[in-house]
């Protein structure tokens, strides 16, 4: 790579190196996001070592994983005492260490990866970390954002830096244009289907190409969110005018002279012509149909016209056993067409697909229809502000009239740490990002889909090509 032809990733990385030590770099972290699950032990570590946060004002916290999604307007707290203690521990730590927190009763509360862009806390060109793998989401802003463990949460609190080896550069180019009814979620599932859940290990992925740049900011966040599901350290997308328009006027984004200076730098945040990548992958957007996962890993995915695979046809023994395991867990028979699989539950929400555009897409399918008999469907907005916006647009009425439950914001059934869980054997069409065994409840069976496809499954009771429901 020549010094003058840099990738987007190189530009941001280089701007944040405090010092280099052989292969390791001490990297400065601009913003640190914190939630209740992965932080208590980090704050405890600070206390034990008598350390204070270096820059408490660069850290923002929100409880999201454990919060209930019903009865919040009534002021009903968290019923489970263990969950409650975790949220109260976060409140106490933020108060003690002087960290801004959007508490459970704050209208801005929501899933950390939904509220940070919404508030303008994460901006182009920043380095952003959080004790959460889906921090990759913020790469959509043209930022370098990645998940860390709790020891590193403590490290960032104490030093505002992290010791890192520089990952390699991969570019995934999605050319052409999507066909109607196909969304950002389908793009990213198709990418993972192609490169596998370890395909991005050791890399930062830049998503590029016309189909990516045509996406809204919400759609770009959906794609970057699941970069981690391809094993990548981070996902990112170049800054363009859409990025800058999105950022402008948000509560924490710069103003006046700062804005002019910032936006001038942001406009340079794209890969230079001629810059080289360590790996390149290409997909054609027009060839991507709506995706549905059939197994217990996001790479176990096919188009809506596909079938459950037959392990007997798999020659690699490790893969064959994986497929057998997955089909057993999922209660599926080889060669079953995806369209014949019926669902018990539908979950629309999460940091992948809990933004306003996602709710609009689901509502467009739900409008004038009814949730199929025997199906329980819920919509969980990604934040309090998404919920407000959806209600202002009347989306909640569409969902409620169709028989969906309309909930309060949080992670909810994406990982089922609160009361929202699948029962053993229940099958769910989910807009979240992980279909791992037990993710949505022990024995629960998760199929990952886009919001429109989830709504289509809700109203027909089975996986359905949403394009056929279009009026």
């Amino acid at each position: 790579m020549s010094a003058t032809n840099k990738t987007l990733f190189d530009k941001i990385w280089d701007a944040h190196v405090v010092r280099a030590d052989g292969d390791m770099a001490l990297l400065y972290i601009d913003r640190h996001l914190v939630h209740e699950v992965t932080s208590p032990q980090a704050f405890e570590g600070l206390r034990i070592a008598h350390r204070a946060p270096r820059r408490a004002e660069f850290t923002f916290a929100v409880p999201d994983h454990n919060v209930p999604t019903t009865g919040r307007a009534l002021g009903i707290g968290i019923a489970d005492p263990v969950s409650r203690l975790q949220v109260e521990t976060l409140d106490g730590n933020c108060a003690e260490f002087g960290i801004t927190e959007f508490r459970m009763d704050d209208p801005r509360q929501g899933i950390v990866h939904v509220i940070a862009p919404e508030q303008g806390i994460v901006l182009p060109g920043m380095t952003i970390v959080c004790g959460d793998s889906h921090t990759a989401t913020h790469g959509a802003m043209g930022a370098l954002a990645f998940g860390i463990g709790t020891s590193e949460v403590e490290h960032v609190l104490a030093t505002q830096c992290l010791m890192q080896t520089k990952p390699k550069n991969m570019r995934v180019t999605v050319g052409g244009a999507l066909s109607p009814g196909v969304t950002a979620k389908d793009i990213v599932l198709a990418i993972i289907g192609q490169i596998g859940t370890a395909g991005g290990t050791g890399y930062v992925i830049e998503f590029a190409g016309s189909a990516i740049m045509d996406l809204s900011m919400e759609g770009r966040m959906t794609v970057c969110n699941m970069a981690i599901e391809a094993g990548a350290r981070a996902g990112m997308i170049a800054v363009d005018e859409r990025t800058i328009d999105y950022v402008e006027g948000r509560p924490y984004s710069p103003q006046g002279a700062d804005w002019d200076k910032a936006s001038a730098w942001w406009r340079t945040l794209h890969t230079d012509a001629g810059a080289e990548f360590d790996a390149e992958v290409h997909l054609d957007a027009a060839a991507i149909p709506p995706q549905v996962t059939w197994g217990t890993s996001p790479e176990m995915v096919t188009g809506i016209d596909g079938k459950v695979p037959d392990p007997a046809r798999e020659s690699d023994p490790v893969r064959r056993t994986s497929i057998e395991h997955a089909l057993k867990y999922m209660g599926l028979v080889a060669n079953t067409p995806m369209r014949e699989i019926t669902v018990d539950r539908v979950f629309i929400g999460s940091c992948t697909n809990g933004r306003i555009e996602d709710l609009r897409a689901a509502a467009a399918v739900a409008q004038g229809r009814k949730v199929a008999k025997g199906v329980n469907a819920m919509v969980v907005p990604g934040s309090g502000l998404v919920k407000e916006q959806a209600e202002a647009e009347g989306l909640h009425r569409i969902f409620i009239d169709a028989g969906f439950e309309w909930r309060d914001p949080g992670c909810s059934m994406c990982l089922a740490m609160n009361a929202d869980q699948l029962a053993p054997g229940e099958r769910c069409a989910a807009t979240s990002n992980r279909n791992f065994e037990g993710r949505q409840g022990k024995g629960g069976r998760t199929h990952l889909v886009s919001p429109a496809m989830a709504a289509a499954a809700a109203v027909t009771g089975r996986f359905t090509d949403v394009r056929e429901l279009a009026k």
Partner: protein
């Protein structure tokens, strides 16, 4: 953090690819605000037949006889041998905490997910990546011979089999040093406080908006 120098340990095989951190430690146990006590819930959904809950007494829980760690011959194992992409998914450091608390100090695999790999080093666990063929061989040996042990030597970057065969592995020098000395990373970074300060001053001049940070 406990230093890792040499380990002569019993090996347990987990012959699965893409073992995710949700499987290593299911989410209900993440509600704990402590770092310890996760070992008894390691691989909870595979290990027990009932639904595990935090703070549950595990002594009388029904065990899944088919799960490998429930076999007597692997009791006391300190080395876990597994397939590719181990530790994928969630960033939860509870996964290495659970493995460590159970007794594992070394994990040998065809590959690891990045965040998990990194988290291991922070907790005194050595993750070792070996080529596919070598792991497949070891997997066969472990299953065949009860009491199969490996000798791991981090300073020398070798693993020695009972037959005396020596396998070399790669690990970056910085991480190796921290693990061998049991060093606290934060203390190390704080030695560079002057560099951090200088960076912040430079950056504040270049990009003042990063430091303004006030809501309107």
């Amino acid at each position: 953090m406990e230093a890792f120098v040499k380990l002569d340990g019993l090996v347990a095989p987990l012959d699965r690819a893409n073992v995710d951190t949700d499987a290593i430690i299911p989410k209900q146990f993440l509600k704990s605000i402590r770092r310890t006590g996760f070992g008894k819930y390691l691989f909870d959904e595979w290990r027990y037949m009932d639904q595990g809950q935090p703070d549950m007494d595990v002594t009388h829980r029904p065990r899944n006889p088919d799960f490998v760690l429930n076999q007597d011959r692997y009791a006391g194992a300190t080395i876990l041998l597994t397939q590719d992409n181990f530790g994928c998914g969630s960033s939860r450091e509870h996964a290495p905490w659970a493995l460590l608390d159970y007794g594992f100090r070394c994990i040998v695999a065809k590959g690891f997910a990045d965040i998990f790999y990194n988290n291991c080093f922070k907790n005194g666990i050595l993750p070792v990546v070996l080529p596919t063929k070598v792991v497949d061989d070891l997997m066969g040996q472990v299953k065949k011979h009860a009491g199969y042990r490996l000798m791991v030597d981090l300073p020398a970057q070798t693993i020695t089999t009972p037959g005396g065969e020596t396998i070399r592995f790669e690990v970056d020098a910085f991480r190796k040093g921290c693990l061998v000395d049991g060093l606290d990373d934060i203390g190390l970074t704080l030695r560079h406080a002057a560099d951090i300060q200088a960076y912040e001053e430079r950056r504040r001049a270049e990009a003042p908006w990063l430091f303004a940070g006030q809501t309107r």
